[in-house]
């Protein structure tokens, strides 16, 4: 990958890879059932959709911006759901809809994702785009054996970083990376930083510094 492509991946993309690796280590395989990706139009989400589809998983993409459904399908999503289905307080256990999930949203979304995970499945948690709270019961854990896997990129040891970047080289389609990223200049950093907090960025933003 070129320096520019590495920044198209960035912390968000490398965290998506860490999340997929965590699911693999838990024994999740494509034949077991679909994998849900929340915040699918975001940085972590869009890269996660791309990687999982390349690995042969059936990907369900959850987004608040369903107008970009075609974009998500180009990245490899099989189906797209409206995030409103997951964003309100839900029941302790719901219908089992996916085998695993990559979440970067937290709060009610993550609670509902866990409550709708199939028996023996696993969910990764790396973010708090909706909130840092997790209004959950133990039911999915004790009745369905669902696992919650924590993901940190910031202080991840060197070996984990090397593994993730090696796998990105192998499992991230560079055409999809191009499709999901835009390039901006130094003077647009503040504008784009404001947009990302407002949930207005699609995919990843590369900044040309020099």
């Amino acid at each position: 990958m070129t320096p520019k492509q590495c920044m198209a991946v960035g912390t968000a993309g490398y965290t998506a890879m860490l999340s997929v690796l965590a699911l693999e280590k838990h024994g999740i395989t494509p034949d077991q059932g679909p994998v849900l990706v929340t915040g699918a139009n975001g940085g972590v989400g869009s890269v996660a959709v791309s990687i999982l589809s390349k690995l042969g998983y059936e990907v369900i993409a959850s987004t608040g911006r369903t107008e970009h459904a075609d974009f998500l399908k180009q990245l490899g999503a099989s189906s797209v759901i409206d995030r409103a289905e997951l964003s309100e307080k839900g029941r302790p256990l719901g219908k089992e809809r996916w085998r695993a999930a990559v979440d970067s949203i937290g709060s009610h979304t993550l609670a509902n994702v866990i409550a709708q995970t199939q028996y023996g499945g696993a969910v990764t948690s790396c973010g708090l785009a909706q909130g840092a709270d997790l209004p959950l019961t133990v039911m999915p854990f004790i009745l369905r054996g669902v696992s919650l896997l924590g993901i940190d990129s910031v202080m991840a040891p060197k070996a984990a970083r090397e593994e993730a970047w090696a796998r990105l080289q192998q499992d991230l389609d560079l055409e999809k990376l191009e499709l999901l990223s835009e390039t901006v200049g130094f003077d647009q950093i503040v504008e784009k930083a404001t947009d990302i907090v407002d949930g207005k960025i699609k995919g990843r933003v590369i900044v040309e510094i020099a």
Partner: protein
């Protein structure tokens, strides 16, 4: 290059300000590798740092930016030599150590 541009955020009481400043190498924090930054990116966390909407920055003033790719200019560390292409993700850069939104960055090698 004697001076280079950087995006700096500072705090005056509760008010946070962002400005483009000219820095020299002496202004950077201590570290063992000096990098000419070519590309960076915007992560959610960078958004929180710049807008002040989340407690990301823990040292003031700060140059935000948690990711960079560039070329080594100077190195005191055996693993890196001038001319090497490098990528950095996280490790507290852009939070407690001057980060990616500058034409040059000096970082510490860990692990």
């Amino acid at each position: 290059m004697n001076t280079f541009k950087a995006l700096q955020i500072s705090k005056d009481g509760e008010q946070q300000q962002t400005e483009c400043v000219q820095l020299s190498r002496e202004d950077l924090m201590p570290g063992d590798v000096l990098v000419a930054v070519e590309y960076s990116t915007i992560n959610y966390k960078d958004g929180l740092a710049i807008t002040g909407k989340g407690p990301v920055v823990r040292k003031w003033p700060m140059i935000p930016g948690i990711d960079f790719a560039g070329t080594v200019i100077e190195s005191d560390h055996s693993e890196f030599s001038p001319g090497d292409a490098v990528v950095l993700n996280g490790w507290g850069v852009g939070e407690v150590h001057y980060g990616a939104y500058a034409e040059q960055a000096r970082v510490k090698v860990t692990g």
